[in-house]
């Protein structure tokens, strides 16, 4: 504002707004641009690249374990190293791959899907990513001195200084703290973004189902993470500062750790799978060329699953001495989760039913998810019945169950998301041939690896076992499982090759290669820095279908269509 007074008699010029340019900040380029970025899309890409590197690391660790178990009395890996590899594998897959990979997809896609130009707190978003990297570096640096070896659950008293004296266990604790903080900040960001930055007309009832699932996941993380943060902090002070939270010899209670861990740990399972549900809910209607069946039921069941998952933690502790009546409650509450999950599965099937199916790679992975995740859910209901759980607890049956949920469920959904959104992120299509080859290799390899593990568990093979004798009768099934894991690894490698080849040589994708339903397909591929020059008005759960219809109507009137319609049509 400028106020000019020329003389006492002069009139006062009325205030006049002005735009004063003081120079534009020079944007960094090259690697520095990536390191300093607060753009949600770049942060999303960094999340995805980092987490897929961790996926390959965790997968390599899994292959080492399978090679060791491929033959009885194998001496490839000694028991101490096996324990360390097993801990690294579980921790990497849970804390460094499946949870943060969804943060990557959500970072890239949620603002685009809701019609926002960025997340609510872009700098906090960058901090979330770098905290994840810090946690990973801390954890993996322990490989060079003494890796943790107490499993991804790190139960006490096993994880105390008496049994695991090395600092690798401390590195595991810092990993949980740093990645937990990363997830917490990211979750706050997503909740604020989805609650406040939706496009005009996008009421809660028109929010894309992937965004619903990210919202539910974020709320679960905010609710569950403090429990594990408290648990590992107490474990740290027990290890180094003489406290007795979990040591029964001086008045502590080691079961308390299990309660705190699983109050986080069971929601964590759904934290890993709920965004996958969201992806499936986006992919199926696009490739069935039909609206999603039961939008409200799917959104409601997402929240139902999130809510119930906070109330079932003790089913991981059925073997701990507890009153039967308490076990019955947790059995009932655990089985209740099958209801909203079943609602989802039936709605997805109804979406496919009589649709004009377009058999592209994302749909292959989505269909694989449906088939295999349902199997994992059914064994979950079996394990929720505590007398059955008592029989198979800590056996390979449990290992098979949670790999059906987390690999067949989450990883299939992650691959579906990758094949579905890769054209939007890079502007190039992935190879359909390589994609379908990857699907069949992973599908066959996965079932060969884990289906037989149900039988191994029922035959009594304990989990976390590094050696077994030849007369145990487990050698053939273990060999099949090991061969299956190699096929599975080949399937993953084909996708890695597909990504690398398609980045350079993939066919140009255009704005909307799949004829999608949601707003991310409204913008160019890859999207510009500001995402939307204009934000279209949303009138249904399928805003892009509405726009397409309006364009069609306009083209019938005018005779030609050159541009998408302007907002407000």
């Amino acid at each position: 504002l400028q106020r000019t007074e020329q003389s006492p008699a002069a009139t006062v010029v009325s205030p006049r707004p002005e735009v004063v340019l003081r120079g534009l900040q020079k944007h960094p380029t090259g690697w520095l641009a990536w390191l300093t970025t607060t753009d949600h899309k770049r942060i999303g890409v960094m999340y995805l690249v980092a987490t897929f590197v961790f996926f390959l690391l965790g997968g390599t660790e899994a292959l080492l374990m399978r090679l060791q178990l491929g033959a009885p009395d194998n001496t490839l890996i000694d028991p101490e190293t096996y324990n360390a590899i097993m801990t690294m594998h579980g921790t990497t897959m849970v804390f460094l791959f499946v949870v943060p990979v969804w943060a990557g997809f959500a970072n890239y896609m949620v603002p685009l899907m809701i019609g926002a130009r960025d997340v609510a707190f872009p700098r906090l978003n960058a901090l979330s990513f770098w905290l994840l990297v810090a946690g990973a570096v801390t954890f993996y640096s322990s490989v060079f001195f003494s890796p943790p070896a107490a499993g991804w659950t790190s139960y006490t008293p096993l994880a105390t200084g008496d049994y695991i004296p090395g600092n690798g266990q401390d590195a595991w604790i810092y990993l949980v703290h740093l990645t937990g903080l990363s997830s917490m900040l990211g979750s706050i960001n997503f909740v604020a973004t989805i609650a406040n930055m939706r496009a005009p007309g996008m009421s809660w009832g028109r929010l894309p189902l992937f965004c619903w699932s990210v919202l539910a996941q974020a709320l679960m993380l905010i609710g569950a993470l403090p429990a594990v943060a408290a648990a590992v902090t107490m474990q740290l002070t027990d290890r180094h500062f003489g406290t007795c939270f979990f040591d029964p010899t001086c008045g502590g209670d080691s079961i308390l750790y299990q309660h705190l861990f699983w109050f986080f740990g069971h929601p964590e399972v759904y934290i890993m799978i709920l965004p996958g549900f969201g992806v499936i809910s986006e992919v199926l209607p696009v490739f069935a060329r039909k609206p999603i069946f039961g939008y409200k039921a799917i959104a409601a069941s997402t929240f139902g699953i999130a809510f119930l998952s906070m109330l079932v933690w003790a089913h991981h502790m059925f073997a701990v001495p507890t009153g039967v009546i308490v076990l019955v409650f947790f059995m009932v509450s655990s089985m209740t989760i099958a209801v909203p999950t079943g609602i989802k599965v039936f709605n997805w099937l109804a979406t496919l039913w009589r649709g004009s199916i377009v058999l592209k790679t994302p749909l292959y992975f989505a269909a694989g998810f449906l088939a295999l995740f349902t199997m994992g859910g059914i064994t979950g209901v079996m394990l929720a019945i505590f007398p059955i759980d008592w029989q198979v607890t800590d056996t390979y049956f449990v290992v098979a169950h949670f790999h059906y949920v987390l690999v067949a469920g989450s990883v299939n959904a992650i691959f579906a998301a990758l094949y579905y959104w890769f054209p939007k992120m890079t502007g190039r299509m992935m190879s359909e041939g390589l994609g379908k080859l990857s699907f069949w290799l992973t599908f066959v390899g996965f079932n060969a690896t884990f289906l037989v593990q149900h039988s191994l568990g029922l035959s009594g093979m304990p989990r976390r076992l590094s050696h077994y004798p030849a007369n145990a009768g487990w050698d053939v099934l273990n060999l099949i499982s090991t061969i299956g894991s190699l096929i599975l690894a080949m399937g993953v490698l084909v996708t890695v090759v597909n990504v690398l080849v398609s980045l350079k040589r993939g066919r140009r994708a255009g704005n909307d290669p799949w004829k999608g339903n949601t707003l991310e397909w409204f913008v160019p591929s890859p999207p510009p820095e500001n995402n939307f020059d204009v934000v279209p008005r949303v009138r249904s759960v399928e805003p892009l279908q509405d726009i397409r219809r309006e364009v069609g109507a306009a083209s019938r009137t005018v005779g030609t269509v050159a541009q998408p319609p302007t907002p407000g049509i």
Binding site: P200, S203, V326, F329
Partner: protein, 129 residues
């Protein structure tokens, strides 16, 4: 508007700036955790019945709250300025009367980061000119 108390509660909370669904979820969680805590302490059949009832009640309340949140998908969209947010469009913004009453569409002033982006855009436009 439908004669549904959950929709009224939902609208009143959202208009006042509170995430209605989150509030209801926390209340439901507290109901069940209280039931489970009681069961763990006394381990009697009546406590078990209370815990199961609390679970059923919580799921029922949450389902109703979820349906109240989602019902706005059926509402027609009012035409207005592109810059208005959906929450302003639905509830009339902070200070508006609760459920059912809507203020006429008013152009919203960009705030915070949006305002900064707008300023930067103007700066660049001025530089280009």
């Amino acid at each position: 508007m439908r004669p549904n108390p959950f929709i009224r509660i939902n609208r009143a909370a959202e208009t006042a700036g509170y995430p209605a669904l989150l509030v209801v979820t926390v209340v439901c969680l507290a109901i069940v955790v209280a039931g489970v805590a009681l069961l763990a302490l006394v381990e009697t059949p009546w406590a078990f019945a209370m815990a199961i009832l609390s679970l059923i009640a919580a799921v029922a309340i949450l389902s109703a709250a979820m349906m109240a949140t989602l019902f706005d998908a059926e509402e027609p969209v009012a035409r207005g300025a592109v810059t208005r947010s959906s929450s302003q469009e639905r509830g009339g913004g902070r200070g508006a009367a609760a459920a059912g009453t809507r203020r006429p569409a008013a152009p919203a002033r960009p705030k915070g980061r949006v305002a900064a982006q707008t300023r930067r855009g103007k700066d660049r436009a001025a530089l280009a000119a």
